[in-house]
Amino acid sequence: AQSVAQPEDQVNVAEGNPLTVKCTYSVSGNPYLFWYVQYPNRGLQFLLKYITGDNLVKGSYGFEAEFNKSQTSFHLKKPSALVSDSALYFCAVRDRPGAGSYQLTFGKGTKLSVIP
């Protein structure tokens, strides 16, 4: 079965500093990986996804994520954090067709707080 782990419940970072939100995954085959962000009382907003190819994926609002197959990780990064980046971040995985479940499996989420 596929699974996602977000080891940090909360990440605090000062405005202007680089941020990293960690994600590790487990699938039976090669994964499709996604990052979503959720603001209070809102639905999930798509940030970026990894399908294949370049291990560094660039997404919305200056976010990027690095796929590392050997470490089964897909960490979300941003070079300079903004106060408006404060939100709940979810990593999700979907296995390749034919390799098992087709559904999106989400991590528990990491609350990012950017301190002015």
Binding site: F34, R42, G43, L44, Q45, I51, F90, Y102, Q103, K108
Partner: protein, 116 residues
Amino acid sequence: DAGVTQSPTHLIKTRGQHVTLRCSPISGHKSVSWYQQVLGQGPQFIFQYYEKEERGRGNFPDRFSARQFPNYSSELNVNALLLGDSALYLCASSFRYAGQGQETQYFGPGTRLLVL
């Protein structure tokens, strides 16, 4: 373009009652999925529909049912409500069948259900 829309935004029910939640996908999207997000957790997959057919079901009891209409909108029905059904119910749409793996699912703002 309008995103995924859901109605109602909030709902209060009592145990044993029935509830119907509605979702309209992004124009042109043919696949709709439903997720349940309990406070403090990531979304959990309930159903996926594509071209009006059920294409997947998560680990939820038979009290949960759904359908997709010819205009690709969808309803989620929950019978015999339990206190534990209190959650944010999210609808997500994608252009093609999300089981093809790389399809991005775009989420609506959700319906917050409180069961008393």
